[in-house]
């Protein structure tokens, strides 16, 4: 570039740079030139120094008007873009509707899943000290390599930790009790959310007190802290402080504090909070037992504490106090408060479902975005003419790029707004499906909204990318002369997207089918007991003490066949014992078995089968003290050929094995069958609260009425709720069933979206090829022939998507099934069924649309040529 003498001198760089930024690309060159010309002139006349200072001041003074200029231009462009968008929308209602509604549906799904994830994620995160709050749990490793993890803690643990671990600032025990009868004057309620805690509780957690002080509330053992709503329930508008509540007809407590209602996002959720000792009664003496006790221990650590170091300190402190058998290795662990809801200490937990649903959300959004991209790019060919005209009139390439991007981004933002509306609308239904109270507001905080906006902008940019880059590069003369074959370019790209969409759909179908199959398998699996016609009742109040007379009255009805009771729910016998001994047991070997204590007639009521020996019987008066029945698995572990009559010690009870029960599944099928020992220890039995009733198959309603009447008679103050045992079993799989249900809903949606996209694309291409179809018909092709060729065109890709979906689906399902030792297996039928279903749907979608075009009389479609 040629330069004259004054040209060695350039205006101040920074200010030239400011100008460059403020000027629009179009005007930049000439206007920078203007500034430079004056500058050069000024340099000649007044010297460089004055010229530079003039330049600086002048640029600064120009800034406000330059900014205003840019904004006014921008607004004008925006108005023009909106106008184009509106015209496009009104002219091609069908496509635009599919486009916007499809994207909005996908986004709404995403928003709903996000809301759910957010609500689960926010659990327990509201505590001010959330990062320092931990639950203490125990990991026990046996010499045979098995390990057990349990959160049940020990009476003296909280106190010990506060005394001997300086890093533990505060600690509390927490125990819960369901169904506590509480009365005030004539008001009587059964309270189900009752907690028993140590005073530190109120310091550690963020449950603000309305009345009373954290220090003072538990100075007396007979006191209680109520939630606001509970206080209102008992005392109305009267001042609750100092009022006396009657607990279960046994003792009285005084209200010493009121806390705000605990939020739904807290996994600790109590309406009444008592001092811990009241769990056992007013006369309970603090115990020094280090057995697994019915409580959990939570600690508040000092700021900046190293977790693994504290875990070691805690372990040392526990090992000093507690007597732990030499050959058992016990480690104390800490679980952060924020993880309690999401991670099971045994592994897995809700987090798996969250990840699964997160993936589903991403998948559905992908499908919806692909639809949008596909339809937009396919249709962009139609706008080649518009592009040509614009260019002729003087539009630059960058203007067109801006226009296309602007349009698609705007459309996707419109879809986002629609999606928010859809999500808000369907939230009530969805809350029921997710079994949680969900709100739009709580989950859609700033970050989430920004995320959604970013997603829609990115979608818009991708969708606009093809027409923006490709179409804008055309030479106007060739477009207008019609040298561009419409919609032909990018065909493969679109078909690949369709393939991905159908891969995702097929993957989701496979997952749904796999989950359903496993659930059905579990439901129909032989559990080793007769699950039908058994009633399961939680005994309350006086029922436990008056069990024998109640049993007699129950049996008077012909419909009641057998009655028994037991300590643990037969669908979930979770407690284990490792204090076991028998003749010939290797003392070095640590073995644990599940234990249970039952009353007479238990096995007969449950319909279990005897493998050897006999059941418990009243004919043997020593049975309650020293008879044991073990399952076959336990016999295997004990390695006895003839177990009957063998000595066996469980906890401190010494006795003999009188019978062997055939293996039955006493835990959800996520657990492998474990050894089990069943005794009749009277100490346990007298407080056993699970009532089991086997009823006849006929006149079930009548029998139920009889049972209800007796329940009412023995515990009038409690609601009496008998469950069928099969329901209790099902309850063990409620989370799996919920997952299955939600996934199937989203699967249907994903399929719908995929087909919607395919429908849009097929109908568009059919319309594009109207003339081709007409000519083919004239040359003798039949409508069915033409449709077939269309179907094959798309069908190939849909079939190919199986190649991606099958291995992924196999991996997905086998991951999910990992939790289950008993698996339905992944049959090839699942895959074939999923693939076929998707293929048929695609076929119908494309076929119906094409056939309509192909049926048209060629005279009509070719009329204008």
């Amino acid at each position: 570039m040629s330069r004259n003498a004054s040209d060695g001198i350039r205006p101040p760089k920074i200010f030239a740079w400011i100008l460059r930024i403020l000027l629009s690309a179009e005007e930049r060159d000439s206007r920078l030139g203007d500034y430079e010309e004056i500058y050069a002139c000024s340099v000649k006349r007044e010297g460089r120094l004055r010229a530079s200072s003039w330049y600086r001041i002048h640029v600064l003074r120009s800034i406000p008007s330059l900014i205003r200029d840019r904004l006014e231009w921008g607004f004008d462009m925006f108005k023009n873009m909106m106008k184009m968008l509106y015209r496009n929308f009104t002219r091609h209602k069908g496509y635009m509707l599919i486009n916007v509604v499809g994207l909005a549906l996908g986004m709404a799904c995403c928003i709903l899943i996000w809301i759910w994830i957010q609500s689960e994620w926010s659990m327990n995160r509201f505590h001010d000290n959330k990062d320092r709050l931990h639950r203490v749990y125990t990991e026990a490793i046996f010499t045979d390599g098995r390990s057990e993890v349990f959160s049940n803690s020990f009476y003296p643990l909280a106190r010990t930790l506060k005394e001997s671990c300086p890093k533990v600032q505060q600690a509390t025990r927490i125990a819960e009790k369901p169904a506590l009868l509480v009365s005030f004057a004539d008001k009587e309620f059964v309270e189900n959310r009752v907690g028993y805690v140590d005073p530190d509780f109120f310091h550690m957690f963020s449950f603000p007190m309305e009345q009373g002080t954290p220090e003072g509330v538990f100075s007396d053992r007979l006191s209680v802290v109520l939630s606001e709503s509970t206080a209102l329930k008992y005392f109305g508008n009267r001042d609750p402080m100092g009022k006396v509540l009657k607990i279960g007809n046994h003792f009285d407590v005084r209200v010493t504090g009121i806390i705000q209602n605990m939020p739904a996002i807290s996994s600790l959720h109590y309406d009444l909070i008592f001092p811990f000792p009241l769990y056992f009664g007013p006369d309970w003496q603090e115990s020094n037992s280090w057995g697994g006790n019915p409580l959990e221990t939570y600690v508040l650590l000092q700021k900046g504490t190293n977790i693994s170091e504290t875990e070691r300190n805690i372990t040392v402190a526990v090992l000093e106090k507690a007597t732990i058998p030499e050959n058992l290795k016990v480690t104390m662990k800490l679980q952060p408060m924020t993880r309690i809801h999401l991670y099971d200490i045994q592994g897995g937990g809700l987090i798996r479902t969250i990840v699964l649903f997160g993936l589903v959300a991403v998948f559905i959004l992908l499908i919806a975005c692909f639809n949008f991209i596909n339809l937009t790019t396919a249709r962009s060919g139609n706008r080649a003419l518009e592009v040509g005209i614009r260019k002729v009139v003087g539009a630059q390439r960058k203007d067109l790029v801006k226009q296309f991007f602007g349009e698609t981004v705007l459309t996707s933002l419109v879809a986002l707004i629609l999606a928010l509306g859809l999500a808000a609308f369907s939230l009530r239904f969805y809350s029921r499906l997710a079994e949680r109270e969900l709100t739009l507001g709580s989950a859609l905080n700033g970050t989430a909204l920004v995320g959604l906006v970013v997603i829609s902008i990115v979608t818009g940019l991708i969708a606009g990318g093809y027409p923006a880059v490709f179409l804008s590069s055309f030479r106007p003369d060739s477009i207008i002369r019609g040298q561009l074959s419409k919609g032909s370019k990018g065909g493969t790209f679109r078909k690949v997207l369709i393939m991905v969409q159908f891969s995702i759909s097929i993957l989701l179908i496979i997952t749904t089918l796999g989950v359903t199959r496993q659930l059905r398998f579990i439901r129909n699996m032989d559990l080793g007991l007769d699950r039908d016609n058994i009633l399961f009742v939680q005994m309350r109040g006086d029922m436990v003490a008056k069990y024998e007379s109640m049993k007699n009255e129950l049996l008077q009805h012909p419909g009641v066949k057998r009655v028994s009771r037991c300590v643990q729910n037969p669908a979930f016998i979770g407690s284990t014992v490792s204090k076991l001994d028998w003749d010939g047991k290797n003392p070095q070997e640590r073995i644990s078995m599940n234990w249970e204590y039952v009353d007479y007639d238990y096995f007969e009521t449950m319909g279990m089968e005897l493998a050897a020996g006999r059941w418990f019987s009243k004919e043997f008066s020593t049975d309650p003290e020293e008879a044991f029945i073990v399952n076959e698995r336990a016999v295997e572990i004990m390695d006895k050929t003839n177990p009957i009559g063998q000595r066996l010690q469980v906890f401190n009870q010494k006795g003999r094995i009188v019978g062997v029960v055939k293996n039955f599944h006493f835990q959800p099928l996520r657990h492998e069958l474990a050894p089990l020992v069943i005794g009749m220890d009277p100490g346990w039995i007298k407080s056993a609260s699970n009532l089991l009733i086997r009823i006849g198959e006929e006149n079930v309603q009548q029998t139920l009425d009889h049972i209800r009447a007796i329940g009412k008679k023995f515990a009038p103050e409690f609601p009496f709720q008998p469950y069928f045992f099969s329901e209790v079993l099902d309850y063990n799989y409620r989370s799996e069933r919920k997952t299955g249900k939600i996934i199937s809903v989203f699967t249907v949606l994903a399929l719908l979206l995929s087909c919607l996209g395919l429908f849009g694309l097929a109908s568009f291409l059919a319309e594009q090829r109207t003339k081709e179809i007409g000519i083919r018909k004239i040359l003798g092709a039949s409508a069915s022939r033409i449709t077939l060729s269309f179907i094959l065109d798309f069908g190939r890709w849909v079939l190919m998507s199986n190649l991606i979906a099958w291995p992924l689906g196999y991996w997905f399902i086998s991951q999910w099934l990992r939790d289950f030792p008993y698996r339905a297996g992944i049959g090839i039928t699942v895959f074939v069924a999923a693939g076929t279903a998707a293929f048929i749907l695609a076929l119908v979608t494309v076929g119906a649309q094409t056939l309509r075009t192909a049926m048209v009389n060629p005279a009509q479609s070719l009329r204008y040529e």
């Binding site: 570039m1 040629s2 330069r3 004259n4 004054s6 040209d7 350039r10 005007e27 060159d29 000439s30 206007r31 920078l32 030139g33 203007d34 500034y35 430079e36 010309e37 004056i38 050069a40 002139c41 002048h58 003074r61 120009s62 800034i63 406000p64 008007s65 330059l66 205003r68 200029d69 006014e72 231009w73 004008d76």
Partner: protein
């Protein structure tokens, strides 16, 4: 048609006076001379762009010249509409001041 604003009027007059040499620098010089104020270039561009959008001005890019660091000029000229608008405002001005002698303002 809406009447021109005063700034627009001044600019149009300046462009018209400069005939074939109306671009950023000359326009700024001209209106600074006409009004007696020191206009910034930014303050000139703003109404210029507005007039273009209204269709009263046309612009044309000239060849690069060396004294501008090798940058091209953007020359402005009145459109037919621009001329009409100028004519109209001139009429309005004339009617507005008609019959008021100079001495009345002192």
């Amino acid at each position: 048609m809406k009447l021109l604003s005063r700034t627009e009027e001044i600019l149009l007059v300046a462009v018209w006076r400069l005939t074939n040499n109306a671009y950023g620098v000359t326009i700024r010089d001209e209106i600074s001379r006409l009004t007696g104020y020191d206009w910034t270039l930014g303050a000139v561009y703003l109404p210029l762009d507005k007039l273009m959008r209204k269709g009263l001005l046309n612009k044309e890019t000239s060849n690069p010249t060396p004294e501008r660091g090798g940058r091209s000029k953007c020359l402005y000229e009145l459109t037919t509409q621009g001329r009409a608008a100028l004519k109209e405002i001139r009429e309005v001005n004339r009617t507005l001041w008609e019959g008021i002698p100079d001495t009345a303002m002192e």
